[in-house]
């Protein structure tokens, strides 16, 4: 617990530092429109960070998050544009649905996330495969699925053109999930609100329910959890499902926010940003550690750095190494602190 609080203090200090730097970088840096930009990114990254972090708490990992985001964004768009069109005559499969309205399409997309999580969880617990390998394969597979669904971009503009009757639902979803007006103007960083609501719910699950207890116990000592009568396998599957479903939801947010998505690059590298955010927020890759509020704060680091770099005119190509360096420094400081504590 004490270690958790130290980590929390660490990420809070880092964020204060970054915001101070941002505040001094230009007159418009702390303007409403710029902060909206930062918090929108924060919300989008935060949603997938929560799932990735919960998996890390139980001592697992999911490398497929970015591909699931991309696949879900494309699936959501394609479902609205043309609907399901699965025809394999030789196998006698013939599913042609026609275009699906936005809200049912959203629900179907989330169900896709549930199925992906179930598959991951069952492969890891029943066949005892390593989560790293299962989700690494998943990373390729779901990216492939996305590219099979459509070769070109999918976007809300096409949907509206083809199916004007969907426009009002799309406007509704955009307004309430990503805070954009029908004309595309950013009215409010709703993605942050979405993140905070999800974090509140999952925070209660993690810190106040039996499940959260089990996840911490499994992350620290799976054997002891088993000897205490916990159904370790079921709990793990549950967390895999949560993680993939959140990633699917992030895919929906991505399409609504950006308006269009490209099957070959939507969501790429997001799994790495999510893992980074979870670790900055207090997760140990060994499992068992971290607090929900830490995950939310950890997900804010990358958006602020990204924004800071725009103000400092640093090309965005430098972003990966800056993020990597900050994480490395954080890890070193953390390790040194741990050793000093161990000596005491």
């Amino acid at each position: 617990m004490k270690k958790n609080l130290i980590r929390l203090a660490g990420v809070t200090m880092l964020l204060m530092l970054l915001f101070t730097a941002l505040g001094t970088s230009g007159p418009t840096a702390l303007d409403r429109s710029n902060l909206y930009e930062v918090f929108n990114r924060h919300g989008a990254l935060g949603v997938i960070t929560l799932g990735a972090a919960l998996l890390i708490v139980t001592g697992n990992i999911d490398l497929s998050v970015g591909s699931v985001v991309g696949f879900s964004a494309i699936l959501f768009g394609v479902l609205m544009e043309t609907g399901i069109d699965l025809q394999f005559r030789s196998l006698g499969i013939n599913i042609v649905s026609g275009p699906i309205a936005p809200i049912p399409a959203l629900i179907l997309t989330l169900m896709g996330g549930v199925v992906i999580g179930l598959v991951h969880g069952l492969l890891v617990t029943r066949l005892r495969l390593q989560a790293f390998l299962v989700t690494l394969c998943g990373m390729f597979i779901y990216r492939g699925f996305a590219r099979q669904l459509t070769a070109k971009n999918t976007g809300l503009v096409q949907v509206r053109e083809l199916h004007p009757e969907f426009s009002s639902s799309i406007d509704f979803l955009r307004q309430w999930l990503v805070g954009k007006a029908p004309n595309g103007a950013q009215e409010f960083p709703m993605q942050l609100v979405v993140l905070l609501i999800l974090a509140l719910i999952l925070g209660i699950v993690l810190h106040r329910t039996v499940y959260g207890r089990y996840w911490y116990a499994i992350g620290y000592n799976e054997q002891a959890a088993r000897y205490a009568g916990i159904n370790v396998e079921r709990q793990k599957v549950m967390v895999f499902v949560i993680c993939s479903t959140l990633a699917s939801f992030a895919g929906v947010l991505l399409l609504l926010f950006a308006g269009s998505a490209n099957p070959s690059d939507a969501g790429t590298s997001l799994e790495l940003y999510a893992i980074t955010a979870a670790v900055l927020g207090g997760c140990s890759l060994r499992g068992g550690e971290g607090l929900m509020i830490g995950f939310v704060l950890g997900a804010l680091v990358q958006p602020v750095i990204n924004n800071l770099m725009i103000f400092w005119n640093i090309p965005s190509s430098a972003e990966p190494w800056v993020i990597g360096l900050i994480l490395l420094v954080g890890t070193i400081v953390d390790e040194l602190l741990r050793r000093r504590n161990a000596r005491k």
Binding site: M1, I204, R208, T209, V210, Y211, R213, Y214, Y216, A217, Y220, N221, Q223, A224, A225, R226, Y227, A228, G229, I230, N231, G288
Partner: protein, 507 residues
């Protein structure tokens, strides 16, 4: 003894070895002649393995000296001893399973050519390897087999061959036959006879007294970390060994408050077999208000049996009854729900989440009772934690303290506490006082005694003879997975237990 006196290969004199809280060896002496096979015999914890490790340089003794080839030596580590000619063949074999037999024979001391290029001299190595395999009776074709594909007996022979390659003059084997089949064991005896004829000495730890009789020139018996006596080849018999292994006055650490009453059976195990278990089926019953002690040497299958009953191992046949009703146990939760709980042998690995708090651990298996619609109720939880800490007198600054920072005794009390909060019907204890200091031991004994007096059925697995004799109402003894006998308080004594535990029959 008509042989002219020759100087022994190894003399260990007055060896003492202190571990935190335990004097493992106390003034132990031992000598080994060239080409002699000496068996080291004793109960669990008598100090056999410690003595072997001191001789092989793994441990440095606190007192005493080791004289090797007439020179006093002070090995800094096992490598040092190995260079001098002493090789320890480990219980868990130390081979690189993924490499070939040849690679393993020369691992770490590869023969190379080409100076700094360090190219492997495969031809020379093969030739030497062939002659080493021949000495342990393995076919030359084995050189290229991957070690992983060999059965345990042959792996052991490979390890012996490796030691011979290092010109070992003394081989130390710790329980070499524990994982071998009868045929592999016979094969090992032949190899031992051959090595002996070639002048190699062997120190051999065994729990199987029949084997000691078969292959040892002399048996040295240890008891409580001291020399208990030695038997020459023609004096070795099962009874004589047991007499030396036992024969000590038991301190009365625990005056029992109960008198044995024969309650009704609570847990009944009938013809139970489990996956990867022994061929023999096991039957036993644990009655209300009694402590059933379970004795046996390491590897007798006691822990495995308790894990099977607790749902950690798949049952293949037989029946478990609780208060006369058959129950199905597939996973620990089934056992826990039925009221059967287990305090495991390895507290740190299986009993506790060490990094988490005392309170977290106390609540963990009780969360179903502390929650409403999956939400943990903080007031109830705090109450349970406070009650457990008070009742068991767990010495901790607060419930928020990390349990790993407590003493062994207090950690064990937390494990008891997390189960007692459920008011179980059957309490299985596996080595309940291992790693617990003396003061806390007495507290745990009093607790076990009280729990039985309250009518709980206690099944206590223990290797601690004093504990077994002091607390048990009845004792069941296991030998190689089989129940070899049952002793009541009237027939219970250390000698009888050791007879049964070493595969003899109760006399």
């Amino acid at each position: 003894m008509a042989n002219p006196p020759q100087s022994p290969l190894l003399i260990a004199r007055g060896i003492s070895k202190q571990f935190p809280g335990v004097l493992a060896l106390d003034d132990v002496s031992l000598d080994v002649q060239r080409g002699e096979v000496v068996a080291i015999v004793g109960e669990n914890g008598a100090g056999k393995s410690t003595l072997m490790k001191v001789i092989a340089g793994v441990y440095q003794p606190n007192a005493g000296e080791v004289i090797w080839n007439q020179k006093p030596v002070n090995f800094s580590g096992p490598l040092d001893a190995m260079r001098a000619g002493i090789s320890l063949i480990h219980q868990e074999l130390n081979l690189a399973e993924n490499l070939s037999v040849l690679d393993n024979l020369f691992l770490g001391r590869e023969d190379t050519i080409g100076g700094p290029l360090r190219l492997l001299a495969r031809g020379r190595s093969r030739q030497l390897g062939l002659s080493l395999l021949e000495r342990v009776g393995l076919p030359g074709a084995f050189l290229d087999r991957t070690v992983r594909t060999l059965p345990p007996g042959q792996k052991q022979l490979v390890e012996i061959a490796r030691a011979l390659g290092l010109n070992a003059q003394l081989l130390i084997m710790d329980e070499p036959t524990s994982s071998l089949t009868q045929r592999e064991t016979d094969r090992l005896y032949e190899v031992i006879d051959g090595l002996k004829a070639a002048g190699v000495s062997i120190l051999y730890i065994s729990h199987r007294l029949a084997e000691v009789k078969r292959c040892a020139d002399r048996a040295v018996v240890l008891r409580d970390g001291r020399n208990a006596g030695a038997l020459a080849r023609d004096e070795i018999s099962h009874d004589a060994l047991v007499r030396l292994m036992v024969g000590r006055d038991l301190k009365q650490l625990f005056p029992r408050t109960r008198t044995t009453t024969s309650g009704t059976p609570v847990l009944t195990i009938k013809d139970l077999r489990y996956l990867n278990g022994p061929d023999h089926a096991v039957s036993l019953e644990v009655r209300a208000g009694e402590v059933l002690g379970m004795a046996g040497l390491v590897g007798a299958g006691r822990t495995e049996l308790s894990e099977a009953v607790f749902g950690l191992r798949s049952l293949t046949s037989g029946e478990i009854r609780l208060n006369g009703t058959p129950i199905t146990i597939r996973k620990p939760k089934d056992a826990i729900d039925a009221g059967i709980v287990l305090v495991p042998e390895d507290r740190r690995l299986n009993g506790l989440v060490l990094e988490s708090s005392v309170g977290f651990n106390l609540s963990l298996p009780n969360l179903d009772r502390l929650s409403l619609a999956s939400l943990v109720r903080p007031a109830q939880e705090r109450q349970l934690q406070r009650k457990s800490i008070e009742q068991l007198r767990i010495k901790t600054p607060s419930a928020a303290q990390a349990v790993g920072l407590l003493s062994g005794g207090n950690q064990q009390k937390v494990v008891f506490g997390k189960w007692l909060a459920r008011s179980p019907k059957v309490l299985i204890l596996d080595e309940p006082t291992r790693g617990v200091d003396v003061g806390a031991k007495t507290e745990i004994y009093t607790l076990i005694d009280q729990l039985a007096a309250q009518g709980l059925a206690v099944w206590m697995i223990t290797s601690d003879m004093e504990e077994l004799l002091g607390l048990s109402d009845r004792v069941v003894v296991l030998h190689e997975g089989r129940v070899t006998g049952e002793l009541t308080r009237e027939t219970l004594n250390e000698e009888a237990v050791m007879q049964l535990a070493t595969g003899g029959t109760a006399s």
